[in-house]
């Protein structure tokens, strides 16, 4: 059922049904979800529809030296979205809502850096193993926000910005561990509990828009 929602919405948005004056726009933005590309169509002076995607990927390696651990992490932010803008007071200020198809996820692998001695036993990194964490959120996440810009009144470049949140639900944490560190994975529910507050993901974006 969920799989069918997004194509249907896209179809409705871009059906060539002239109601009011219609303009098309494209925009490039920098946002808290990465780089965003979107296409826009206005349905009169007060309504816009948008589709787009955001993408961001970062890999971090660290630790070692005097640190107890080496770590390797990946953060992948990938969303597809469809949004509706509603302009108030015939001004640039708008309220925006819509749906994000959220493929964001992060993972982190932690490995001991060097051997440790407890009693008469040397615990090598190979014996200790590693701890892996994967975090995901809900696939379909609603968005509510407000912003400035996007009004396709005149041709050319314009400024646009958005502030809002997506409701992504409680992050799903998958904790696993190998070797002697295996019991660390028992704390999966604790980590999930600690991230319970992170149900809303803040979106702030700035960019430029070109109206055709």
């Amino acid at each position: 059922m969920k799989k069918k929602i997004l194509p249907c919405l896209l179809l409705i948005l871009f059906m060539a049904v002239p109601i009011y004056s219609q303009n098309y726009s494209v925009s490039v933005k920098v946002s808290t979800l990465g780089i965003s590309l979107e296409g826009l169509r206005s349905f009169g002076e007060q309504i816009n529809a948008r589709i787009g995607m955001t993408y961001f990927l970062i890999n971090i390696d660290g630790g070692g030296g005097t640190e107890d651990y080496l770590y390797n992490g990946n953060l992948k932010l990938l969303t597809l979205f469809t949004l509706m803008d509603w302009y108030l007071f015939k001004s640039n200020f708008r309220i925006t809502s819509g749906l994000f198809f959220n493929l964001n996820e992060g993972d982190l692998i932690l490995r001991p850096n060097g051997s440790h001695i407890l009693g008469g036993i040397i615990y090598t990194p190979e014996m200790l193993g590693e701890i892996s964490t994967k975090v995901k959120v809900n696939l379909l996440t609603p968005y509510l926000g407000f912003g400035l810009g996007n009004r396709s009144i005149s041709e050319g470049f314009d400024f646009t910005m958005d502030v809002g949140v997506i409701y992504q639900g409680t992050p799903k944490v998958n904790l696993s561990a190998k070797g002697l560190l295996a019991p660390s994975a028992e704390q999966e529910s604790l980590v999930e509990h600690n991230t319970k507050w992170f149900k809303f993901y803040p979106i702030i974006s700035f960019g430029i828009i070109y109206n055709f």
Partner: protein, 557 residues
């Protein structure tokens, strides 16, 4: 004006959004999260209970009396503490301790590890306990030790000051010491050392100054007494002469510990001239050679114990003289050394006439012992699913009344091992000891254990009933330097059900399960490390408990 409104609206919305986000109670994802790892597993652990033979309590468990255990024998270099650190000497103020074998060695029936456990505590008779380990796993050892100020039934003891030696270490007046008649059998033992005798310790040092002599007699007519047999059991290794070493079983006629110490604590071993020792055999003693009670003219071997090797050395054979007025049979002989002296008939046990208890199953009203023919030592191994509490199997010879006991408890989930030889074609009683107070809950008499494949011992259901819970305890240790790291140990664990402390199995990776604990009852659990006994009590109400404890600084270095 309109622009102003729009800007105001924008900033108001932003402020509301920021407030909304910040008002969340944000905790770090790793808040209270620890790095938890399992301690490297130790394949063979040995849990030791050093028990007062009279009170049946571990020495010092309520008084903090110190007991020292040193480990000798051919396998001593494999001994490590429970953290894997090489160690041969242990101290405990609880009568409870544990050690392990280095993981580099795998004990097998073909290549067993042989150890001598030497236990001593002030006011107690030292014990030398030979231990043969022939498989990996958790092993339990019970060492009964005699409190000279609170003697068990069947034991009599006498200690006297026998004066000073001269400057060259010679005894200046004849030494004569005898025990009072033992209460049950009325047997006495005595020693006579002639004047002018020079006494040396095991290292050849001459004893000097003020001397104290002691004799402790152990009757073969009492359970409490025979449990204190110097090697801990009647399953023995003997030197039959000319260094021919044999394994087998003693049928005892009683035993005596003779000792003389000087003011600097040196203990007598050898004499430069003969001394006279007198022992008696109680009337009614079973002679396995004749399959009857002893009579005058029977022949009995005499053995002395080598504490450092854990071997009984054959000394001589004596012809039993006519009984004395009480009916006991006196034996007089001379020797130029003293130690534990033993009147015993020895029978070699060949692999063909030894059975292995492959498995034991605890059910509500019985214990099933599954037997199999075994080429090697007789093993007890448990794999119990419905146990209520640890229990102890005792093998008692019906004719001689002496116990052969598995020196440990059998417990659920954990494999338990110890050597327990029982001779074929000899009537025996198997007793099940359990509960609080510790008592016999089941017995069976068998004519020949080796003719069976399965033994079913009916037991009373006294320990069952009421609301019972199966619980799991998770134990983690941490170092003071970094409390964010928790270590799950592999250690033996003891349980106290309000009655007494009992070994209860090997905790693996910080987890151990207990079946059928009484709901609402108080249980205390303990683990021992480096002379610390970490205890935690729970009134049983739920099914899982977590316990964290601080590791000693020494371990965390």
């Amino acid at each position: 004006m309109k622009k102003c409104l729009i800007i105001s609206l924008f900033f108001l919305s932003s402020a509301i959004s920021i407030y909304f986000v910040l008002s969340c109670e944000m905790t770090s994802p790793v808040d209270n999260v620890k790095v938890i790892f399992n301690a490297a597993s130790i394949k063979t652990t040995i849990a030791v209970d050093i028990v007062d033979a009279k009170t049946q309590e571990q020495i010092g468990i309520y008084t903090n009396q110190l007991t020292e255990l040193s480990i000798e024998g051919p396998g001593k270099n494999y001994v490590v503490d429970i953290s894997g650190k090489s160690q041969n000497k242990f101290k405990t103020n609880y009568g409870i301790l544990c050690f392990a074998l280095d993981n580099s060695i795998t004990p097998t029936t073909e290549n067993p590890i042989e150890l001598i456990l030497l236990a001593k505590s002030d006011g107690y008779l030292p014990v030398s306990y030979p231990l043969t380990i022939s498989s990996e796993g958790g092993i339990s050892v019970l060492i009964y030790i005699v409190n000279l100020n609170n003697l068990p039934q069947g034991v009599s003891s006498k200690t006297i000051n026998i004066g000073r030696t001269d400057n060259s270490g010679k005894v200046t007046s004849p030494v004569e010491i005898a025990t009072d008649p033992e209460f049950i059998s009325r047997v006495t033992a005595s020693m006579y050392v002639p004047v002018g005798t020079t006494i040396k310790d095991a290292y050849g040092e001459v004893l000097n100054g003020n001397l104290t002599a002691s004799i402790t007699y152990f009757s073969n007519r009492s359970d409490e007494s025979t449990k204190c047999f110097p090697t801990g059991n009647f399953i023995v290794k003997v030197n039959e002469g000319k260094d021919i070493i044999s394994n087998g079983i003693f049928y005892t006629g009683g035993f005596v510990n003779f000792n003389i110490i000087d003011e600097s604590g040196r203990s007598a071993k050898n004499f430069d001239s003969s001394i006279t020792l007198n022992m008696q055999i109680p009337n009614g003693t079973y002679n396995p050679d004749t399959k009857n009670n002893i009579i005058a003219g029977d022949i009995v071997p005499i053995w002395s114990y080598d504490e450092t090797k854990g071997i009984w050395n054959f000394e001589k054979k004596l012809i039993i003289a006519s009984p004395n007025a009480i009916g006991n049979y006196p034996l007089n002989f001379s020797s130029n050394h003293i130690s534990n002296w033993n009147i015993d008939w020895f029978t070699t046990q060949t692999p063909q006439n030894i059975r292995k208890i492959r498995n034991t199953v605890r059910e509500r009203d019985r214990i099933i012992l599954e037997l199999e023919k075994n080429q090697g030592t007789f093993l007890l191994r448990a794999n119990i699913n419905q146990n209520i509490s640890p229990y102890l199997l005792m093998f008692k010879m019906i004719n001689s009344s002496q116990y052969f006991y598995s020196s440990g408890y059998i417990n659920e989930y954990r494999s338990f091992m110890n050597n327990a030889l029982v001779p074929c074609e000899e009537p025996i009683t198997i007793e099940v000891w359990e509960g609080c107070p510790f008592r016999i809950t089941g017995t069976i008499q068998l004519l020949n254990i080796c003719g069976l494949n399965e033994i079913i011992i009916p037991t009373n259901e006294t320990n069952f009933g009421g609301n019972e819970k199966n619980i799991q305890i998770t134990v983690s240790g941490y170092c003071s330097q970094d409390t964010t790291i928790l270590i799950r140990p592999n250690v033996p664990i003891w349980i106290n059900d309000g009655c007494r402390w009992k070994y209860s199995g090997l905790m693996e990776n910080g987890k151990i399960s207990f079946a059928n604990l009484k709901e609402g009852n108080l249980y205390t659990f303990g683990i021992w490390y480096d002379n610390n006994f970490y205890k935690e009590s729970y009134i049983i109400q739920k099914t899982s408990y977590n316990y964290k404890f601080l590791f000693p600084a020494e371990l965390c270095k």
